[in-house]
Every structure is written in structure tokens, then in C-alpha cells.
């Protein structure tokens, strides 16, 4: 695959959150853009560290971010040939702490995400951990970690690149059911940027109960907007004009807990209007669980059938209150952190 056609980066964050990266780019990319690329690792990994660094809740991992790419009709001629944009994260916990291996991938194909995930979690990341142990014991003080990790990342990025280009396969998966704990409404366009969270009433005991099953309402509120803008900037750095990202799915996990953020969008009157649900995987506490297609269908009701927000909130979770929590300004976000993330 030509380098011009893909976006491929592999980032490694060690136990002290020191980040190393290996990024593929075309020789034609300007120096200025190459410098911008160096910041990508920190920016993409930022929220991965956030849940730990914020001190709120547990050390959640962002396992997967998938983005749809929409075409700007007026810029069809300049459209760069990419179809998929996704990120994958592998976390390994050792006695010294947690290490993260993060891949940023965008290609002209739909890609076999499962295969790439396995390459990362079963081979590349363990190879880094095991290689370090063995090299340290063999070389002692002569062991140079910086050189070692760059070599490992290059090895990993080559393996991932080699497996790119195969179509996404449908694997058998156990059908899971989920419980909705929040709805995020977003609007993005020229001069417009809105993001609101709808969830339980602040005094509802369910609000507090489900805090144990998500990183925090604060983190969940900022993730879609943060990553969508970051992906958009990445596309610009790589000179991929004419496409705009729309977050499709974000998967998070902590021990056996899993959260999915699922989003649907509509481009209307030059504005991207999106609705996303924060879903907790069915467990002993959750009630009224539904499968993912139910939530997708429900969000399309607002976007396509123009059903009222109140109606849809009631469908998603009758316990939700039609109260808007702003999720863009620091002030609003602090309010979410202070009130909704309050354990008491």
C-alpha cells in the first residue's frame, strides 16, 4: 500500500507515561506537518491517561475508537481515498505499572480490526514487555531502552502495515445487551459547536449507582467531541481534504466492566447533528437491557423521523430527565464533574 494512502502510527506509553512513537508518512509531507505529527501520540493518548490522572474513579482504558468519514460534496475532487479511521489500544499491567500500546490507523479499506487487535495484544505488545525483560537481563547497564522501543515499534508498525488492506470480516460474536446511562447531543458546523449530556436526575440513586460502571460522566461527555476534532486535525495534517470524521463507536473497559459509546449522525443544512448513547454492558445491577441495534434505531428516530427528544429519552431510559448538561465549556464540564460525578 502506498504511504500516501494510509495514516499509520504506533505509540507506546511506558509505566511512567513516557511516550514513544513510530509514525508512517509520505516523503512529500512538509517539515511543519511532520512536526505536528510528533504531537499526535500525546494528544491521542491523552484521554487514555486522563481517567487515571484525573483521580476520579478507576483506571479505565479506551480500547477502540471508530470513526465514519463523510464526504464534503463541494470538495469531491479533492477527496483523499480513505475509508476507515480507527484507533486501537492494548494495555498490559505488570508489577511496575500499566503500559499502553496505541495504534492510529486510516486506510482506503474497511480493514480487519480483529486481526490487527490480535497482532497488537498477542504479539507486538507482549514482544515489547518480554523483549525488555530479556534484554535487560542479558545486557544489564548496556541496555538502551530508547533504541530498543523504537526498534520494537518499527517492527510492530511493519507487521500492522503488512496486514492492512484486507476487508473487515464478520466474526461470530456473542450478542450482548446494554443499559443506557446517558445521551449526548452534539451539533458541529461553521461557527457552531454544541455538546449536551442528558442523563439521570442528579438526585436519582441510579446516577450514583452507575458511576461505578463508567469512568465518569465528565470523561464520557468530553470523549466524542475531543476525539472527533483530533481526528479531523489528523486528517488535515495528512492532507486528506474533503472528508469529515464522525465518531461511530468508542469502547472502554476496566477489569470486567465494559462501556460502549455509540453515535449516529445526520448532515443537514451544513451542520452535523449527532446523538450518542453511553451504554453499560449488561450486569447483575442493570435492568431493561437492549441490544445495540435497538439503540441505533432509537437515535435514528430523532435524526430521520424527527421524533422529540423527550420521546426518545423515554425510550432509551424512562429514568432519564429532560435536563441539559452543557459539555463544551470548562465551566459546564466542571459542573458535571462536581454534581454528576459526586459519589455522595
Amino acid at each position: 500500500m502506498k504511504k500516501e494512502n494510509i495514516i499509520l502510527g504506533l505509540f507506546f506509553a511506558d509505566e511512567n507515561n513516557l511516550v514513544f512513537e513510530s509514525i508512517k508518512y509520505s516523503e512529500a509531507l512538509s517539515n511543519e506537518r511532520r512536526d505536528s505529527l510528533k504531537m499526535l501520540s500525546f494528544r491521542f493518548l491523552g484521554p487514555v491517561f486522563l481517567t487515571a490522572a484525573s483521580g476520579i474513579g478507576n483506571n479505565w482504558k479506551i480500547d477502540f475508537i471508530d470513526s465514519a468519514l463523510s464526504l464534503y460534496q463541494k470538495q469531491v475532487d479533492e477527496t483523499a481515498v480513505i475509508q476507515s479511521f480507527f484507533t486501537l489500544n492494548s494495555s498490559i499491567e505488570t508489577d511496575s505499572g500499566v503500559t499502553n500500546l496505541f495504534a492510529l490507523i486510516s486506510t482506503p479499506f474497511t480493514e480487519d480490526v480483529k486481526l490487527i487487535t490480535e497482532e497488537m495484544t498477542e504479539y507486538i505488545h507482549p514482544s515489547v514487555i518480554q523483549g525488555r525483560i530479556v534484554s535487560e537481563s542479558l545486557l544489564g547497564s548496556r541496555f538502551n531502552f530508547d533504541r530498543f522501543i523504537i526498534r520494537e515499534l518499527n517492527r510492530g508498525i511493519n507487521l500492522i502495515e503488512y496486514s492492512l488492506g484486507s476487508a473487515r470480516k464478520m466474526y461470530w460474536e456473542e450478542k450482548r445487551r446494554y443499559y443506557c446511562v446517558g445521551l449526548i447531543e452534539r451539533k458541529n458546523g461553521e461557527g457552531i459547536r454544541i455538546s449536551n449530556l442528558y442523563t439521570f436526575d442528579k438526585d436519582d440513586p441510579l446516577r450514583k449507582a452507575y458511576l461505578n460502571f463508567i469512568p465518569s460522566y465528565y470523561v464520557m461527555s468530553i470523549l466524542p467531541d475531543y476525539y472527533e476534532h483530533l481526528i479531523s486535525e489528523t486528517l488535515t495534517i495528512y492532507n486528506k481534504k474533503g472528508v469529515y470524521p464522525n465518531i461511530r463507536e468508542i469502547k472502554l473497559s476496566y477489569e470486567d466492566k465494559k462501556v460502549i459509546y455509540l453515535e449516529e449522525y445526520l448532515f443537514e443544512n451544513e451542520i452535523f447533528k449527532t446523538y450518542g448513547v453511553i451504554l453499560v454492558q449488561q450486569n447483575e445491577v442493570t435492568e431493561e437491557n437492549n441490544n445495540l441495534s435497538f439503540f441505533k434505531k432509537t437515535m435514528r428516530l430523532i435524526l430521520d423521523k424527527k421524533r422529540s427528544l423527550t420521546y426518545v429519552l423515554d425510550l432509551l431510559n424512562p429514568q432519564f430527565k429532560n435536563e441539559k448538561w452543557g459539555a463544551i465549556s470548562n465551566e459546564d464540564l466542571e459542573k458535571i464533574g462536581k454534581i454528576l460525578d459526586n459519589q455522595n
Binding site: 504479539y123 511493519n158 507487521l159
Partner: protein, 346 residues
């Protein structure tokens, strides 16, 4: 990663193999059990000498896992040949960018041997040192043709490569490093052989193509008057008159076989060839009686006269396009052929 059932994926005819083992055992019932399994394995064409196999089995005998026997190890040794076959098939088709050996190793380890490592670890004791596994991989997957497996030599090579690491009492998992230690050299050698075969294949193809091209060029560099030859042959047998138009067509075909539209030719470049080829074609069309009367040299002399006459009227010194030469020569040669045919029986 999904658990792969190696027994199913790389199925070997265990029942048949075991029946054969029973025969060997009955035949050598008073021999040492390790020797019996060694004899059985050598007869299964795993590609090592009896001594090497016997030494290897003796070494691993006290390292077998709970409930495992030497025969289990022997069966896995046979299965390994099947896995090697599948891996080689994959490697033959693989196209690694810049023929990267490092990528070939990583890709094959990930696709073929990572799950195998999990599977085969059940065969040996959990607490044995890790270099035993990398040595076992080298023994199992070395190419058949270069098998010279001295277990002590192999162990010596592996023992310092991968130290066994413990955390408290538990062995630290270094399976990927073990796989690399045991299989990297084998994969690199196999891929080098694949590249060499591809190179040879490419060279063969290029040579074949060059030969075909030369043959085609040689054909294109001649005047071919097949139609003219056939007309004369038919006339010699049937004496049936050939129309002027038919002769014109035959002459035109003769000239077209050499002259190409858009290519420039000098008169001196084709003069000799034209005389020789036309004389050959006419001569070839004659029957035996006429051949005695008209030698090739005679016919060439007649054509030479016609060409000399043509050159008097066509004095172009610079090269002309093939189509122009064809147009100018057709009438002269047609007149000559008509005259030749009409007088050849006289």
C-alpha cells in the same frame, strides 16, 4: 485470539501411525523403549538419523509433562512436519515489502507459531528451562533436507540466548522471544530460499521471453511469400490460369510481410533479402521437373534484372516508409511474376 484445535487443523492419521508403532514395538519387543520410538520416528521420515533422534528422545524423556509419553512427543514431531508444510506454502506466496526478513519472521511467528507455542507447552513440564522449548522448535521445524540435529549442539546454542526468568517462584512468560530464538533462523533461511527460487523463475521467464522475441523478430525480418508459393504449386499441378489480380494480391502479401507502415527503410537494406526471399518462394512452388530447369541462381538473376529496372525509375536515396516501398514495388514484381508463370513451361 481464538484457540486453535491443532489436532483438527493439522490432522495426522494417528490410528494408522499407532498401528504401525505397535508393529515396530512387537518386532523389537526386547529393545529399549526409547530405541523403539526412535526406530518408529526414523521410519516416519522426519529427516534425522537414528542417533540424533534417539539422543533427542533420551534428553526430553524426563522433561515430559504430566500424563505425557514419549509417543506423544513422537506424534507431535510428525505433526510438526505437516505444520511446516503449511507454513512453507504460506511463505511461498508471501510478498514482504523490500523482502524484509524481520517482517517475514514476525508475520510467520504471529500467523503460525504463536498459538502452536500455547499448544505444545502442554507436552513438557511447566518448570523446565525455556531454552528447551526453543531447542525443541528448532528440532521440529528444521528443513528436512538439512537435518543434522545433535541435541547437545542445539542446546548449547540456545541456553545463553534466552535465560529463564522468574518472578518469585513463577516463570515469566517470554514465549515470543523463545519462538524467535528457535525459529528465526529457520524462517529467514526458508524465505531466502523462496526469494532465490523466485529469482531463478524470473530469470527463466525472461530468457524464455527473450528467445520468443528473437524468433519473432527473425520472422519479421524476412519476406514471406506463402500465397505466391501456393499459387505456383497449384498452377504446376492443375495448369489452371491465375488471374492478374490474384498474383497482385500474392505479391502484395509478400511485400507486406516485411514492410511495416510507419517504419523507414533504405533500398540497400532490403534489396538482397527481397531477391533471395522471392527467389526462394518461387523456387519452392515449382515441381521437381521445373526445379531442374530453373535453379535458384537463375531465378535470382531474373529478379535482379527487374530490381535494377525498378531502381532506374525509383532513384530515392533517402529512406522511405514501408507503405511507399510496397506501393512502388508491387507493379514491378507483379509484372515479373506474371511473365515468369506464363513462360515457365516453355
Amino acid at each position: 485470539m481464538e484457540e486453535i484445535d491443532f489436532n483438527q487443523l493439522y490432522k495426522i492419521e494417528t490410528d494408522k501411525i499407532l498401528r504401525y508403532y505397535e508393529r515396530i514395538r512387537n518386532q523389537f519387543r526386547f529393545s529399549d523403549p526409547i530405541e523403539i520410538v526412535s526406530k518408529f520416528l526414523v521410519n516416519q521420515s522426519i529427516g534425522s538419523s537414528f542417533k540424533d533422534v534417539n539422543d533427542t528422545l533420551t534428553y526430553f524423556n524426563d522433561k515430559l509433562g504430566y500424563g505425557k509419553e514419549l509417543l506423544d512427543l513422537a506424534i507431535e514431531w510428525i505433526r510438526a512436519q505437516k505444520i511446516r508444510l503449511e507454513y512453507k506454502k504460506y511463505l511461498i506466496r508471501a510478498q514482504y515489502p523490500n523482502n524484509s526478513m524481520s517482517l517475514a519472521v514476525d508475520d510467520c511467528l504471529f500467523k503460525f507459531f504463536l498459538q502452536y507455542d500455547k499448544y505444545i507447552r502442554n507436552l513438557l513440564k511447566e518448570d523446565i528451562r525455556e531454552h528447551n522449548f526453543s531447542a525443541l522448535y528448532e528440532i521440529f521445524f528444521s528443513p528436512f533436507e538439512s537435518k543434522n540435529l545433535n541435541i547437545q549442539d542445539i542446546l548449547e546454542r540456545h541456553i545463553d540466548n534466552v535465560p529463564t526468568h522468574f518472578q518469585d517462584m513463577e516463570k515469566i512468560n517470554t514465549n515470543i522471544i523463545i519462538l524467535r530464538s528457535g525459529l528465526s533462523i529457520i524462517i529467514v533461511k526458508d524465505y531466502v530460499n523462496v526469494l532465490q527460487s523466485r529469482k531463478e523463475e524470473k530469470l527463466k521467464k525472461e530468457q524464455k521471453f527473450a528467445k520468443q522475441k528473437m524468433e519473432k523478430l527473425a520472422q519479421e525480418n524476412n519476406f514471406e511469400g506463402l500465397l505466391l508459393e501456393r499459387q505456383i504449386k497449384v498452377y504446376c499441378i492443375s495448369k489452371k490460369e491465375i488471374s492478374d489480380k490474384e498474383i497482385e494480391n500474392a505479391v502484395s502479401q509478400f511485400l507486406s510481410s516485411y514492410f511495416k507502415f510507419g517504419t523507414l527503410y533504405s533500398f540497400e537494406d532490403f534489396k538482397e533479402l527481397l531477391i533471395q526471399n522471392l527467389a526462394d518462394d518461387i523456387y519452392s512452388g515449382l515441381n521437381e521437373r521445373l526445379k531442374q530447369k530453373n535453379t535458384i541462381a537463375n531465378i535470382k538473376y531474373l529478379i535482379l534484372n527487374v530490381i535494377a529496372l525498378f531502381r532506374k525509375t525509383n532513384t530515392a536515396k533517402r529512406p522511405l516508409d514501408g507503405l511507399a516501398w510496397k506501393r512502388d514495388l508491387t507493379d514491378f514484381l507483379k509484372t515479373f511474376v506474371i511473365k515468369f508463370i506464363s513462360t515457365m513451361f516453355n
